[in-house]
């Protein structure tokens, strides 16, 4: 199959769709000893039509693999993104090959549909983990950490009393998470407030319709190469040096199109 890869950052299709053309051309092009004349003959004699199927592609993180050093090593990125994340994408594509109904969904829809209201289909784990990891890479940046500003900071102070308190609660959630899972800062839709949520394995807040703002991977594979069993050091390093409040602010801004957080306090002259 010819792969027209759309997984680069320059690709306008932000969902990372990859189009593959299942055509008879490929089989003749791969035989090197045939000359052009014979290849053309092969093509002309084939009456089958090419079939275009859409798959999901592995999106690159928004930074080079060594950009998060020394807090998250290049080796970790290479294995975590290149092996784990890629593995989920490829496993998902293989499953979708056999399933005409599911392949047409966007990733968000796919996660909800395959979760099947608590009785997940086999595709759920792969789909959700692809989404989760995309979100996670984008929740970090080189030179991250520090504090959020402006309205996001105000919202955090409103819902957690102070940024320090939020940071403590987030770290505590990460350290009391049993087994594999994720820690999220979400905007809750009905309660219209920020909250910290722990999920296990592949679950994410999209499943109960909340809007994730940042996430932290606490599966052991996320930190084992760099920190071995010292999850506390990993989580503190994430908060101090990796978390991207810029990405968080952008997601908050988008979230406010769906959740009315009240009138902004614009001073009146």
């Amino acid at each position: 199959m010819n792969l027209l890869s759309c997984s680069s950052n320059h690709c306008p299709l932000s969902s990372g769709f990859v189009a593959t053309i299942d055509s008879p051309l490929k089989s003749s092009l791969s035989i090197p000893h045939l000359g052009w004349g014979q290849r053309r003959d092969n093509v002309r004699n084939k009456r089958r039509l090419s079939k275009i199927v859409a798959y999901h592609g592995l999106k690159n993180p928004p930074y080079k693999l060594d950009a998060l050093e020394p807090y998250m090593s290049q080796k970790t990125l290479e294995v975590h993104w290149g092996a784990h994340h890629r593995g989920y994408v490829e496993a998902l594509n293989k499953q979708l090959e056999k399933n005409d109904i599911l392949y047409g969904h966007t990733m968000d829809e796919l996660i909800r549909v395959t979760y099947n209201n608590g009785n997940p289909l086999p595709e759920f784990n792969n789909a959700a983990q692809v989404w989760n990891h995309d979100f996670f890479w984008e929740s970090m940046q080189p030179g991250g950490g520090d504090m959020p500003t402006l309205s996001l900071l105000q919202q955090i102070e409103k819902d957690f009393a102070s940024f320090t308190n939020f940071k403590e609660k987030f770290i505590e959630a990460a350290l009391t998470s049993f087994g594999s899972g994720w820690v999220w800062l979400v905007l809750k839709r009905e309660k219209k407030c920020l909250a910290i949520v722990k999920t296990s394995n592949a679950m994410n807040p999209l499943l109960w319709n909340d809007i994730p703002i940042i996430s932290l991977d606490v599966w052991e594979h996320a930190y084992y190469l760099d920190y071995k069993n010292d999850r506390a050091k990993y989580v503190n390093t994430y908060m101090d040096h990796l978390v991207s409040w810029n990405a968080a602010a952008a997601r908050m801004a988008r979230a406010q199109a769906f959740v009315n957080l009240g009138e902004p306090k614009i001073p009146v002259a």
């Binding site: 294995v79 049993f178 087994g179 899972g181 394995n201 594979h221």
Partner: protein, 225 residues
């Protein structure tokens, strides 16, 4: 290495209801050197797994037990119930890993030698062959999402071998009160990551070379005479 049985310390504490002894736990020694299981499992992993992970479970289990003890003494039911997940997780971690260290043996001490006697016959009659059992356990271990264990156990009521998986640190007994573990394989990522990275199936293939079937046979003969 000297074999030291599970060491327990009795701490006597005066409580409103009279004297109460609280047993706390400490890390059991491995019956072999950290490097003795190479190349199937590296010495680095064994050291970290034993000295850091297992020790942490024990430390947190002791802490949870103390908190539970004082909650029970005070009659604080909601705290007592709230502590159950920490006890299941950390206590389970201690129980499971204690079994795990005995499940493994260096090759020169019989690791990897196939089971003989009653356990061997039971495996053949129930699963067809040892290979079939290994395939089944490896498939279930590889398919397990997240963290957990894959077990070969015996149902002492039904007198039957079972292959089961449990999540996180849940002991095998959470899958059935009459299940007794014979062999457990830790498929948490910390058990293999430094050596095998994300290739869990490779770890599962190699661990059989250091499997201590003698121990499993002893437990089976004791539970199912």
């Amino acid at each position: 290495m000297a074999v030291r049985a599970l060491v327990t310390r009795k701490i006597l504490r005066a409580a409103p209801l009279g004297f109460r002894g609280l047993q706390t736990f400490s890390l059991p020694d491995l019956p072999y050197d950290y490097g003795a299981l190479e190349p199937a499992i590296s010495g680095d992993i064994m050291q970290l797994h034993h000295q850091k992970h297992h020790q942490t479970y024990i430390t947190n289990y002791n802490k949870a037990l103390e908190q539970l003890d004082s909650a029970i003494a005070k009659g604080d039911a909601s705290t007592a119930v709230k502590l159950q997940s920490a006890i299941k997780f950390n206590g389970g971690g201690h129980v499971n890993h204690s079994i795990f260290w005995k499940n493994l043996a260096p090759v020169r001490e019989g690791g990897g030698e196939p089971p003989k006697g009653p356990l061997g016959w039971a495996i053949d009659s129930h699963f067809g062959s040892l290979d079939a059992l290994i395939q089944k356990m490896n498939a279930e271990g590889a398919a397990l999402q997240g963290s957990g264990w894959v077990w070969l156990g015996v149902d002492i009521d039904l007198k039957r071998l079972v292959v089961e998986t449990t999540a996180n640190q849940d002991p095998l007994v959470t899958k059935g009160p009459s299940l007794v573990p014979l062999l457990g394989i830790d498929v948490w990522e910390h058990a293999y990551y430094l050596q095998y990275k994300n290739v869990r199936p490779e770890y599962l293939k190699n661990i059989w070379k250091i499997m201590n079937w003698k121990y499993a046979g002893e437990v089976y003969e004791k539970e199912c005479p």
